[in-house]
């Protein structure tokens, strides 16, 4: 019975749990409830992956209305891949984050925090699960609104401006996507993604469809934080509460990338997007600039959360670079980068959450010598940093391998660029490592609050996962290959 409705349950369970969470009296209870809901979404996503392996694709019609009249949820290898990623990250984050949430957020707001978190999770899962274009917009806005609220709960008052700027830019982006959907609907009369794809050859010549494509592009790039529409991301990640930074860094841009795959490969189709409308010509230079510029800026940051945010911008550049290569191996490389980066960045932000718990700040100068008081956290950061640079035996090396190999197929000088920018990562990661290990601890560090065991354990779970996927990468590679073959036949 449950198996029949798993696609719907994936989204509905957190959706219904959210208002219930709001009513819970105690903060601990709210946390427990949210964590359990999160783990249940993880369980359902595991079920979905298993079903997709067995059956291939799962189609679920909401209310038994057949598509294209009704809304259809369509789970294939790509969706299942991203669903399990998001739910896993949410679960691990929540498991460890209780103490840091209690420290950073005023007590009266805890239940509301968890409510917003569940809504964000719902939105992200919904974007991935659905096959209806307008449904995507709705879930996109659900996740975005709850994200604005979550970011605004940060300790620093700058979080408010960060959330406001993100609100303005995010809404413009989502509205652009809405315009794109509207223009496509105008020409085809349908909102179902596969139906749109089938009708695309007939309407492909119209200016309105080209305009719709352009609106989609700008909207998705904004959500993806691709240069030059990335301005909201550093502030949002830096000033958000630590647990929110972990979750956002690991999931929100990944879902935007999923949206990119869906819109440009499933709705518009590979030939139309890349051959007729030359998306690759736009994506390639932007990706390269994103990678180089963000890595360079990251080197000079004085707040480590900001450093990691710029590093995320560079990694997003790698993912879009894979897409812009217009080959199947490029697409596979992009997806593998997506998967591995989620765990690596999530783990690194969790290390920072531990540090923020201990010394109430994440500024570079205040972190001197923290390895002496928090050896496990510092060690986790070193492993995460090694993964970010892309050295074996971590998952980062696998991502690097695939992307450089994909780039080598097209042009050798681009491979040199990719490789040289990884070396930039060495600089900004090693700055932090030296600061943590090779300096004398300051007073505020010696008197820092001891970090709760659960937070450290969850940090290490994510770190070990990023090492595990460096050693046994069959799951992400297999899923990515299946997904790429489906998107680009």
């Amino acid at each position: 019975m449950i198996l029949m409705h798993t696609p719907a349950l994936q989204v509905i369970i957190p959706l219904i749990a959210a208002p219930l969470c709001c009513l819970l009296p105690k903060s601990r209870l709210a946390w427990l409830f949210t964590t359990l809901v999160s783990f249940s979404t993880f369980a359902i996503s595991v079920l979905l992956v298993w079903q997709v392996h067995a059956v291939g694709v799962i189609d679920y019609e909401m209310g038994n209305w057949p598509a294209p009249l009704g809304i259809k949820y369509h789970i294939d290898s790509l969706s299942a891949f991203i669903l399990i990623l998001i739910s896993a990250i949410a679960s691990i984050t929540l498991l460890g984050a209780r103490s840091i949430i209690e420290q950073e957020i005023p007590h009266s707001k805890h239940a509301l925090f968890y409510t917003a978190f569940l809504l964000c999770l719902t939105g992200l899962l919904g974007i991935v699960a659905t096959n209806d274009a307008f449904n995507v917009f709705v879930f996109l806005e659900i996740s975005s609104l709850s994200t604005y609220a979550l970011i605004a709960m940060g300790r620093n008052r700058k979080a408010l401006m960060a959330a406001y700027e993100y609100l303005i830019m995010g809404t413009i982006g989502a509205t652009f996507i809405l315009i794109g959907i509207g223009l496509l609907y105008m020409q085809t009369g349908t909102l179902n993604m596969f139906d749109l794809h089938d009708r695309m050859p007939i309407i492909g010549g119209f200016n309105s469809v080209h305009a719709g494509f352009a609106f989609f592009t700008v909207g998705i790039f904004l959500k993806l934080a691709l240069f030059p529409l990335h301005q909201w991301l550093p502030n949002a990640y830096t000033f958000a509460p630590s647990a929110v930074s972990v979750f956002l860094a690991a999931t929100s841009t990944k879902v935007a990338l999923y949206l990119l795959y869906r819109v440009f490969y499933t709705i518009f189709g590979f030939e139309f997007s890349f051959s007729t409308l030359h998306l690759g010509a736009v994506l390639l230079p932007l990706s390269i600039v994103a990678i180089i510029l963000s890595s360079l800026i990251a080197i000079f940051q004085s707040d480590i959360k900001r450093l990691l945010a710029y590093s995320s911008l560079a990694q997003i550049g790698y993912m879009t670079l894979g897409v812009s290569l217009q080959t199947q191996s490029g697409l596979i490389a992009s997806m593998i980068n997506l998967f591995n980066h989620a765990f690596i960045k999530g783990a690194l932000f969790m290390c920072l959450a531990c540090i923020a718990y201990s010394i109430k700040t994440t500024r570079f100068n205040h972190m001197a010598g923290i390895a002496k008081t928090q050896p496990w956290v510092a060690a986790a950061f070193v492993v995460g940093g090694i993964a970010l640079i892309g050295l074996p035996p971590t998952a980062g090396f696998i991502s690097k391998w695939y992307i450089v190999l994909a780039v080598l197929e097209t042009s050798w000088w681009l491979a040199i660029v990719v490789v040289l920018t990884s070396l930039l990562a060495v600089i900004y990661v090693w700055r932090v490592v030296e600061q943590m290990y090779l300096r004398e601890p300051l007073d505020n560090i010696r008197h820092g609050t001891p970090v709760p065991m659960m937070l450290i354990i969850c940090t290490w779970i994510m770190i070990l996962l990023s090492v595990y996927f460096g050693i046994d990468n069959r799951f992400p590679v297999r899923m990515a290959t299946m997904a790429a073959e489906m998107l680009m036949p």
Partner: protein, 120 residues
């Protein structure tokens, strides 16, 4: 030439509002006014959608003898959802502005940036 404007007046209005809204968002310093601009921008999109649903000589969708042509109800449904989203966005935005006012004592963006720069 004139037919380009008169036939497509709905789209012209929509685009005009879109540009007005975007301009207000970009240009004004007052956070509150930015939200108003955002609202205008979103409203333009609603007009775009709804205007496309109108069928010439169409009535409301009524299932009865005598009513053959009706306007497309689907865009209305979509826009109802979008309006709700827009309201929610405005609500969150306003809440943020109130909070910002509480902490910064101003809702002028340049003044806020000046305050932050002084602190740094």
């Amino acid at each position: 030439m004139m037919s380009l404007i008169t036939d497509l007046y709905a789209y012209w209005i929509s685009v005009l509002l879109m540009m007005v809204g975007l301009y207000i968002v970009i240009d004004h310093n007052n956070l509150f006014k930015k939200l108003i601009g955002l609202n205008i921008f979103q409203t333009s999109v609603f007009i775009l959608f709804i205007s496309m649903g109108k069928v010439d000589q169409g009535t409301a969708p009524i299932l009865k003898e005598g009513f053959e042509t009706f306007s497309n109800p689907l865009p209305h449904v979509l826009i109802l959802t979008a309006i709700v989203v827009s309201i929610a966005t405005t609500a969150v935005g306003l809440a943020l502005v109130v909070s910002i006012n509480k902490y910064y004592k101003t809702i002028n963006e340049s003044e806020i940036q000046a305050i932050e720069r002084e602190e740094a």
